[in-house]
């Protein structure tokens, strides 16, 4: 009881109150330093996830999607060409399958979760297969299912080629089934692997950290006013330095966070408005090549509608990407350069011609089989136009993330050091005043 009374009496005196102020400033500086460093660290982690994990999965998803769409088109081209072109097309198909496998492997390394055997078997069972492309699957599950289906797909295509080379009609059935598997299941799974949305919080304002910083500044100002009343000295140098250091620390934190958030948001917008649509257009064009070849070899009900709808989708997506230059300022993204605009204009013209050819192939003036086959296998549609623009968009997306990470580099350590210095300055400023009362 006596000790408690002595302590209470000590803190009622000015000396005790100043000791309490020192303790409060030191704790506040430590907490503010920790909050600031954690805020920056958390944002840096989200950016690292965006650049490394999501970036790896997104890049792999784009490559797997392209490779599978190319493989689908090439699987039919093999049976439509002759001579040396057969071996070249077969090699192109196998290269695409290996590219798809490598992309899945690359993405799997960035995803730590492992889908259990029972779950993979359940997802690839006949009962579930029809719903795979519309179901909600984790990234790990999508990768596992795609990896399981890839050898099955390849087997169907290779069997189709062997029968078709012997002019056995069952070859067409194998190829058609393979194409359905890749178009109706695998391409959708690969497409949805991509997550273009930035991680939550990466582009937000650091409200909590800034509030803590302001609270520390208010505490320092309050202590200085108390000190001015008690000691009749208007300014305490140590406290002034501590306040200045706190303002610098949290000003730096705010500026770095805003720059990082702006860059991360720009990267996401660029990805959503240019990179993802262009990658999809490129793959869907090859997909249309495959669908056109399949419609020639094995026509089904709805072919004309299906092919026309595909060209419509390509045109809509191209128009949407083409219109972004006018919105670029509003979206705060780099506008398309002249080469990019020319490439998109060329793609629009090509799709328009393509639509005309499809219409003609289903009309009374339909060309001979060999002519349609030659037109389908002549080249990879939209490859020349879009590959350059896609590569540029990919580099710009990556650069925005690099800029965001660069803005944060060293900020967590800097904030922590500045707040430690602020605590030390406050201690240095208050200690002589406490000593005066002893």
């Amino acid at each position: 009881m006596a000790l408690r009374a002595a302590v209470a009496a000590h803190f009622r005196r000015t000396e005790g109150k100043l000791t309490l102020a020192v303790a409060a400033v030191l704790v506040a500086a430590a907490v503010a330093g920790l909050v600031g460093a954690l805020s920056i660290g958390q944002r840096a982690d989200l950016l690292a996830d965006l650049a490394d994990r999501r970036g790896a999965v997104n890049a792999a998803a784009g490559e797997a999607y392209r490779a599978l769409a190319d493989a689908d088109a090439t699987s039919f081209s093999v049976v439509l060409v002759s001579g040396e072109k057969v071996a070249a097309q077969q090699r192109a198909f196998r290269d695409d399958v290996v590219a798809a496998a490598a992309a899945l492997d690359y993405a799997t390394k960035a995803v730590p979760e492992v889908t259990p055997t029972a779950r993979i078997n359940e997802l690839t069972s006949q009962a579930r297969r029809a719903y795979l492309s519309t179901g909600t699957l984790t990234t790990s599950e999508r990768l596992a299912v795609l990896s399981s289906l890839l050898p099955v797909y390849t087997g169907l295509v290779e069997a189709g080629w062997v029968y078709s080379s012997r002019v056995d009609p069952v070859g067409t059935s194998y190829l058609n089934e393979a194409s359905l598997l890749v178009r109706e299941t695998m391409l959708d799974l690969a497409k949805d692997l991509r997550d273009a949305n930035p991680p939550e919080g990466v582009d937000s304002f650091p409200w909590f950290a800034v509030a803590v910083g302001l609270a520390v500044v208010l505490l320092l100002v309050g202590i200085q006013r108390y000190l001015a009343r008690r000691t009749r000295r208007r300014f305490n140098i140590g406290m002034l330095v501590a306040t200045a250091l706190t303002l610098v620390a949290f000003g730096w934190l705010t500026a770095a966070s805003l720059v990082a958030a702006t860059n991360a948001a720009a990267s996401a917008r660029l990805s959503a408005t240019r990179l993802v649509p262009l990658t999809e257009i490129r793959a869907e064009a090859r997909n249309l090549d495959g669908a056109q070849a399949r419609a020639l070899i094995f026509p089904l009900i709805g072919d004309l509608d299906d092919l026309t709808a595909r060209t419509d989708r390509l045109q809509d997506k191209l128009a949407a990407v083409r219109s972004t230059p006018t919105d670029a300022a509003a979206l705060e993204i780099t506008p398309l350069d002249v080469a990019g605009l020319h490439a998109l204009d060329g793609a629009v013209v090509e799709v328009e011609q393509w639509r005309g050819e499809i219409k003609r192939d289903f009309s009374a003036t339909r060309p001979q089989y060999a002519d349609v086959a030659a037109a389908i296998t002549a080249d990879e549609e939209l490859k020349d136009e879009l590959d350059g623009v896609i590569a540029t968009a990919g580099r710009e997306v990556d650069q925005s993330i690099v800029d965001a990470r660069a803005a944060l580099a060293g900020t967590d350590v800097g904030v922590a050091v500045l707040m430690a210095a602020a605590g030390a300055a406050a201690l240095a400023g208050l200690w002589p005043r406490i000593a005066e009362y002893r």
Binding site: S82, R129, L149, G171
Partner: protein
Amino acid sequence: MRTTTRLAAAFLVLAATTACTPASRGAVPRPSAPQPQPPAVTSVAARPRSTGCQGTTDSLRPDGTELVRLPRGGVIDRIRGRQLRVGVSQTAAKLSSRDLRTGAVAGLEADLALEIAKAIFPDRDPARLPGQIQYVAMPTRDRFLALETDQNGRFPPAGNVAKVDLIIADASVTCERVDTFGLRFSVPYLETRQALLTYRAVAGQWDPRQGITGKSVCSGAGTVNLARVTEHGGVAVPVVDTTDCLVQLQRHQVDAVSTDDVILEGFHDQDPNTEIYPFPVEIKDTAAVAVSNRDPELTRLVNAVLERMRGKPMQDLYRKWFGDRPMVMPPAYYEGG
């Protein structure tokens, strides 16, 4: 009290140890290979069937079989202005199969198409006649939708199918098809029997001649064969194109395939490990050329060609594609007797 304290301490130590132990890595997955699936049979096969037969399977008598005059009238004038568009199965070896590299179609039905083309273009160079025929592949399920008829015009999905002048695709003559699709059959050019195809090794465990009860049997959607499988106790497995059945059989996803014996012979040639068995009950069908009922002049011309071939030319054609297999051209029935 001391016991409680010790227990609490032990719990804390355990919890701390568990929290600090890294989670063990999941086992390496060893999934099974997914089973491939044939294209799904969707709505078209579910088209409502007409009840009671209003039309007739009797054909139209040709004006003559000489075919010396230049044919005229209606659709024939239009065909002469472009090409003859023929719907074929394309996946039925010996009847019509396409070399995918050249687009050339070969088989008994392709030869029939050539004979019909000769009659439509008698004034053209015979060597260039194959170029006057445009073959359009018809998956089994959708083939009759390719004719421009009033009935098909009222069925929106038919608008999506490439249109042809005639269909030569082992089409069994049924009154229901006449009603449902608004078509007219020519005189039949082939007599077929429904049969079963399965693997040789199955004979020890299951004799297909004894019945198909409980067995999964694959047939093309929309064919007469499919309903008969169900009628005889089998589990009918429909597919879009009959050749998908061979793929299913090769993967042992069905016990047998059931369709016309002439088609099964083509399947057997593609996979010699298979064997053809008769259907538990003998069912004969006749196959004819299908033409839109809007084009009677084309039906008469086709019949003229077929009647002219009756006898030795047709027997030569049978021998060309089916060797020594005994085959007879079925008799013709014409409207008005």
